[in-house]
């Protein structure tokens, strides 16, 4: 009974958070002299309204799923991977490099490019992992620093070795592309690509590793209690490094969504893409679970894409959706508040 209650609560917090976020977002619109009803109608239309919008929503969600998985995997093993953004950038570059410089049949080239991205992300995650395991350097600091190194290093490499006209690399070869004319066609020529399949597959992989394998058992044990893990003969250092490697691999795969899917190249980035940081929010809203992350990523992807229609059709600036997203995160993070509210509500109902 307790378990059921706990699970119900897990679902209740994000749902109530989203509703509260939309509600308060609406109030802010009212105060700012916008019509929230027409704004939200436009937002919903912008998410589901037609095939193009729906396709774009799913496309935007694909890398968010993967970056959310990256954060969640690390979190489940007791680590805060704030470096998803950097791991995503190196993964993006590695996949594009493989996409441009190899000539292989599609069945080999595409998986190879994706794995190259994941491997690069893993490598970028392993460095803070080793520093943490061997020298007890806190991973939050190192992963943040690694983000900057990734940003400027990838820009430098593109500029020095891979530059094409337009401050970007060349396009990848078709054999390494995730793009799908069929998916584009059924979604009224959105940029939807097969990345969503990769992302959902990755969600299944994370669930499987964490909950069904001895590796996951060890990773979670180390995350909860290093002393008891050591006592039980689990190699704590190895598992910290492994956790960061797997987390980084998900982040790197998120980069391949952009490189092999949406853009087919890599640009010189003036700033972070934000997809890696959004992963923290996705993971939080999705309660660090595979299914939750997919739903949360679709929601955030939808809000971002829908906000474009909201601006054009209802004249409400996209920034307001940014505020709504921030509010949702705020309410999830302060789940204590929601617990208190629901307790009051249920108590009131009983008496």
């Amino acid at each position: 009974m307790n378990l059921v209650k706990g699970r119900l609560f897990h679902i209740l917090v994000p749902v109530v958070s989203v509703l509260l976020g939309l509600l308060i977002g609406g109030i802010i619109m009212l105060v700012s002299n916008y019509n929230p009803v027409s704004a939200y109608a436009a937002l919903i239309d912008g998410i589901f309204g037609n095939g193009y919008n729906l396709g774009e929503t799913i496309r935007a969600a694909s890398p968010l799923i993967l970056s959310g998985l990256a954060v969640a995997f690390a979190f489940r093993t007791g680590l805060f991977n704030i470096g998803v953004e950097g791991q995503l950038l190196v993964g993006w570059l590695a996949s594009v490099y493989v996409g441009i410089h190899f000539d292989l049949p599609k069945v080999i080239h595409l998986p190879f490019a994706i794995l190259a991205g994941a491997a690069a992300g893993a490598l970028w995650g392993v460095i803070p992992g080793i520093l943490k395991a061997k020298f007890k350097v806190h991973e939050v600091i190192t992963t943040i620093m690694m983000n900057y190194i990734a940003l400027y290093a990838t820009n430098g490499i593109i500029r020095a070795y891979m530059l094409a006209p337009g401050e970007r690399t060349k396009d990848i070869k078709e054999s390494a592309s995730l793009a799908s004319p069929w998916l584009q066609q059924i979604t009224e020529f959105s940029r939807l690509h097969y990345g969503i399949v990769v992302a959902i597959l990755a969600a299944v992989i994370m669930w499987f590793i964490l909950w069904k394998t001895t590796t996951g058992y060890e990773l979670r044990a180390v995350g909860f209690n290093q002393h008891a893990s050591q006592y039980a003969g689990i190699n704590v250092s190895k598992n910290i490094v492994l956790a960061m490697a797997i987390s980084g691999a998900f982040a790197g795969a998120a980069g391949t969504m952009e490189g092999l899917g949406t853009y087919q190249y890599m640009t010189i980035n003036n700033a972070f893409t934000g997809v890696g940081f959004d992963g923290i929010a996705v993971s939080l809203l999705g309660a660090n679970g595979s299914v939750g992350i997919i739903i949360a990523a679709l929601l955030f992807g939808g809000l971002k894409i829908g906000s474009l229609t909201m601006q054009s059709a209802a004249g409400v600036p996209t920034e307001l959706v940014g505020i709504v997203i921030a509010l949702i995160i705020f309410f999830v993070a302060s789940s204590y508040l929601i617990r208190w509210l629901t307790n009051r509500f249920t108590k009131g109902g009983k008496i």
Binding site: N2, T213, T214, Y217, R220, A221, F224, Y231, A232, G233
Partner: protein
Amino acid sequence: MEYVIEMRNIRKEFPGIVANDNVTLQVKKGEIHALLGENGAGKSTLMNVLFGLYQPEQGEIYVKGKPISITDPNVANRLGIGMVHQHFMLVENFTVTENIILGKEITTGGRVDLKKAAKEVKALSDRYGLSVDPNAKIENISVGMQQRVEILKTLYRGAEILIFDEPTAVLTPQEIHELMEIMKKLVAEGKSIILITHKLKEIMEACDRCTVIRRGRGIGTVDVAETNPDKLAAMMVGREVNFKVDKTKASPKQTVLKIEGLVVEDARKVPAVDGLNLEIKAGEILGIAGVDGNGQTELLEAITGLRKAVKGTVELNGKNITNHKPRRVTEAGLGHIPQDRHKHGLVLDFSIGTNMVLQTYYQQPYSKHKILKFPAIYDKANQLIKEFDVRTPSEHTLARALSGGNQQKAIIAREVDRSPDFLIAAQPTRGLDVGAIEFIHSKLIQERDKGKAVLLLSFELDEVMNVSDRIAVIYEGKIVAIVDPKETTEQELGLLMAGGKKQKAGDRSESR
């Protein structure tokens, strides 16, 4: 007779569990009233109801004869009910005075008047003979002193009724004695005390009356003067309890563990174990007696592979296991009930079922090709839960949610079930109630009778003397004597533990 506190027929439910069922507690003014029950019997729940943290489903509370509903701790405070928590709620780097006045600061012109407050604290401390230095920092005073600060905190807030939640769990014998004196002084000054405990000795020593709870139900209230520990224990557990450990004579066989010239350094690189020799044979329980901090922890960590030995050897069944990794030592035939069950024994956020395979999850049948086999894991868990009487709602319950005694039973179940040739039991009964202690002792003896070697480390001299077949006294990292528990006395052991020489002639230590 009017009661200062009267809780009538209290019932408190949690999802799936009735924590209190028809419990009545009546406390007279100026008495020390014990609330006795096993771990998980519902003592803390009842006190949390009184303190306003929980609302009862049924029952009434009267304070000084008036019916009252205590909706939150502030109400309890206003009624003069104060709680001395088991885990202190103090700000480490504040002074005693700052801690005591926290939330009730005396201010003059907007500034906290610490001098005046310190004077008041001093006066209060002197009145009850607490001898607390109001200007000392919390981090610099002993645990016993910190507890007195907690007592002062409640007194400063005008408490008339003090609840002590298992106050002696963290204290040394000397400090326990002093606490008992303080409590007597408090009631002499007109305060009333509720003492939550499962230690019968304390009740007999200090309390006037005693209310017993068993599995959430109120069993009754007795005058301490008209009862004895056996009767109290029977009320608490629901059956006769055997304080004497039943065991036959040991029949030791071959040597299982052999330690020679072991040197282990502590965190400061000082040799904590310093040239230690020890042998343990199959079919015997060897108890280690010693004052805490004489190398016991480091010795166990070195044997189990958690800490590197600098010199010397450890052999298990004739195989050298010195400085082997914990898993290799475990696989060589070690079972280990660790000292700190929360830190080392369990992953508290795992279910009790998954904790049961913490040492074996990577082996068949619990996993195959690195894939966990949950049916096998839960089958094993359920078998152990049944066999070792681990009281848990289900195998999926988080280990964190179980009481200390049941957590310990789970660890013992896990370790004993692997049938290791050598079992280390480090403080296996710390903080447990008599029922659980009896159970654990009988399990250790059962293992011995199966021909296993058992190493028992305990800081309770009674336990070492009752359970062991031989006692090794450790002092400054060396075994200074090996004595026969039947022939030694507490005085002799105490002397040896303090570094004194053995008085009787003969070298029994070498003859076995």
